[in-house]
């Protein structure tokens, strides 16, 4: 991996939480480099610190110590507003529980990042339609989240994450609330998007088989520490992605 292809670099990152007198190290001195175009799975059991690390990389939280560089820019040095702009313009987020706003239709949910980014109204409809078509939900745009299945909601959330054309997509247990078939469909979709857009994806999961099938790199965490980092190579990953697509179909 060359230094120029490094997209995000975590350097001795720790995140400690204080619970009364006790200091809990959720993430403990982790260093990690992620290159452009990688599909990284952060694997670990509950409480291993994988979601905390994802939040730190996504700019939702700040480390207690260490540094996170995105294309050389230290996120820790950013003002709160600039960090919000990093989340808005660079990052796409997908959550385990979808987190579509229940009051809004799918169209309005997907439009939300465009509102925040102050994109012209004339441009918005087209971009929303494009994002929904990409995830196969073009016909459900006027439905509210409660009128959609779990898989559809997660695809809707994916459309919302993609609409602002992020550089990196963070997915926190995207299959956690879905049955295995639907979960696989979502991951296939992620793989296709990555292949089509050349996007970097960082996914948190506790299911090793899924990580092995869809990610090209598996970073294993345990008790807040990095205990394994295995790369399969991009070519092997692409071959696997094609297999996955055919299998799901």
């Amino acid at each position: 991996m060359t230094a120029t292809s490094t997209l995000i670099h975590a350097e001795n990152v720790s995140r400690h939480y204080r619970l009364g007198e006790t200091l809990i190290p959720a993430v403990n001195d982790i260093s990690l480099e992620i290159a452009t175009g990688e599909f990284v799975a952060l694997l670990g059991s509950s409480g291993s610190g994988k979601s905390t690390l994802l939040n730190l990389l996504a700019g939702l939280d700040r480390p207690t110590s260490g540094a996170i560089h995105f294309r050389g820019q230290n996120l820790l040095a950013l003002a709160p507003e600039d960090l919000a702009h990093y989340r808005r313009d660079t990052v796409g987020m997908v959550f385990q529980s979808f987190n579509l706003l229940p009051r809004m239709t799918l169209q309005e949910n997907v439009e939300l990042p465009l509102r925040l980014a102050e994109i012209q109204r004339t441009e918005r409809d087209g971009r929303v339609a494009q994002a929904l078509d990409r995830v196969g939900l073009g016909a459900r745009r006027n439905h509210r989240p409660s009128e959609l299945s779990g898989g559809e909601q997660q695809r809707g959330a994916l459309a919302r994450a993609l609409v602002n054309r992020p550089t990196i997509l963070f997915a926190d247990e995207p299959t956690g609330n879905l049955d295995s078939v639907t979960g696989e469909q979502i991951l296939v979709l992620l793989g296709e998007i990555q292949a089509a857009l050349g996007m970097t994806i960082v996914m948190v999961t506790h299911e090793r088989p899924l990580a092995e099938r869809f990610a090209n790199r598996i970073v294993t965490l345990q008790d807040g520490r990095l205990v394994g980092d295995g790369t399969r190579g991009l070519q092997a990953h692409e071959n696997r992605a094609t297999e996955n697509t055919e299998r799901v179909r």
Partner: protein, 454 residues
């Protein structure tokens, strides 16, 4: 986030919790309504008082006398005053009439007379009324009518005097009565020269050409007024029989100031007025006209100071009513705080999502501000309407009560445009202030903790 997007999201959020937000908005509306109703009552009463006072003719008038002459009592004796002396004559009257914002200039023509009716004689005062008194409140309760024209040989009687003339005073309307009065006759030098009796000629020369002649005038009674229009300074003091001013002036009656004028004028025999009333367009013009007349060398008097005190009283009254009305709005603002704090708890996860999608603290704060502002705006508009309705109901109730007492109805509540506008702006400002704490709290939420919230 752009303003339009913010407004759309705020209104959408308010619509979602429609019952709670409507109740909160209603709270604001009730607060604003109480404020508007209170202040509209203050403004209405002030307007009513000021209209009544303006109608009384006291506050839009400047009373002019010659310098060195007081409103009553003897003239000053010093020589300086004598040098300053300017006669308050027809020339001065014409000069006052040309001043800006002057509506009418008229003298106070008041004289003693004997009224003959049904073979009896009654002694009383006659007063000349200017045409402008037609609209004055003193004649609101007149039985019969006002003079048909400014030069009509007609009279209006004061009720007490009418009762002296007849046991059924109202039957006097349409009857004729005779005035006996003393006419001031000014003889010209030619007339004096023509006087054959040398003693009479000498008398007339010595008297400056003034003589008093007894005259009679027949007048038709057209109205009887219940109230006493002669009350107060500058009112039609002392009159019990009223005639059109033009008629009174044509009679050339001898008045109390004739002797005084004779002494001052050195027996020139020129006619002048004891006092002139200068009526201006509105009370606010009084000061300027008064200054202009003073510069012309005359003494003036007005009730402007009294108006100022009245305004001060009403300002304090309005302030008191406003404070009282604001209490309800303060309670309503607590409602806004409560609603928005509840909204933060309910929408914690939503705030987390917004932040994860890139909303800044400012965006979240603005969104909650916009929701508070929208509740204030809608509550304010609805409150103004409600306050206006309360005012109308108060006016209606008062009118019904007054009518039962045989009194004319009055408009006691008045919502001017500035009050409506200020109330809405005030409601929005109070709501925004109430939204400060919840908006700040929402903005400070940690996105990770907010997303974890179930």
């Amino acid at each position: 986030m752009k303003g339009r997007d913010l407004a759309e999201l705020a209104v959408r959020n308010l619509r979602e919790a429609i019952l709670r937000n409507s109740l909160t908005t209603l709270g604001v509306a009730v607060g604003v309504a109480s404020l508007v109703a209170m202040l509209s009552l203050g403004v209405g009463l002030q307007t009513l008082a000021s209209q009544r006072l303006t109608k009384s003719g006291l506050f839009d008038a400047v009373f002019v006398t010659s310098r060195g002459m007081r409103m009553s009592g003897p003239p000053q004796e010093n020589s300086a005053a004598r040098e300053d002396y300017k006669p308050l004559d027809a020339q001065a009257r014409a000069a006052f009439a040309t001043l800006q914002n002057v509506v009418e200039v008229y003298p106070q023509v008041r004289f003693l007379t004997e009224v003959r009716y049904a073979g009896n004689t009654y002694s009383t005062n006659v007063l000349g009324l200017p045409e402008s008194s037609r609209t004055m409140s003193a004649f609101d309760g007149i039985t019969g009518k006002y003079f048909s024209s400014p030069a009509a040989d007609e009279a209006i009687l004061q009720m007490d005097f009418a009762k002296q003339l007849s046991q059924s005073p109202l039957s006097l309307v349409g009857q004729e009565l005779t005035l006996r009065y003393a006419e001031r006759h000014t003889a010209s030098p030619e007339e004096i020269a023509k006087e054959k009796d040398i003693d009479a000629q000498l008398d007339e020369m010595m008297s400056g050409g003034i003589s008093i002649v007894s005259r009679e005038k027949k007048l038709r009674v057209v109205g009887i007024t219940e109230s006493d229009p002669s009350a107060g300074i500058g009112g039609f003091g002392g009159g019990r029989v009223f005639v059109p001013l033009q008629v009174a002036e044509q009679l050339h009656p001898a008045q109390a100031n004739d002797v005084q004028e004779f002494v001052r004028g050195g027996g020139s025999g020129k006619s002048s007025y004891g006092a002139l009333t200068v009526r201006v367009k509105s009370p606010k013009d009084v000061l300027r006209v008064e200054e202009a007349i003073k510069k012309m060398g005359f003494q003036t008097f007005s009730l402007l100071d009294a108006t100022r005190s009245l305004r001060l009283v009403f300002t304090v009254f309005d302030l008191f009513l406003g404070l009282f009305g604001s209490l309800a709005l303060t309670v309503a603002s607590l409602g806004i705080i409560n609603t928005l704090v509840m909204a933060i708890l309910e929408r914690r996860r939503e705030i987390g999502v917004l932040k994860a999608l890139g909303a800044t603290d400012g965006d979240v704060r603005s969104l909650f501000f916009a929701e508070a502002g929208a509740m204030g705006l809608f509550g304010g508009i609805f409150g103004v309407l409600l306050g206006w309705l309360i005012g109308q109901a108060l006016t209606l109730g008062t009118t019904i009560y007054l009518r039962r007492q045989d009194l004319p109805g009055v408009k006691i509540s008045y919502v001017p445009w500035w009050l409506a506008l200020t109330a809405v702006v005030f409601a929005v400002v109070v709501s925004l202030v109430a939204g400060l704490y919840p908006a700040g709290r929402a903005a400070r939420l940690n996105p990770v903790e907010a997303l974890r919230y179930e």
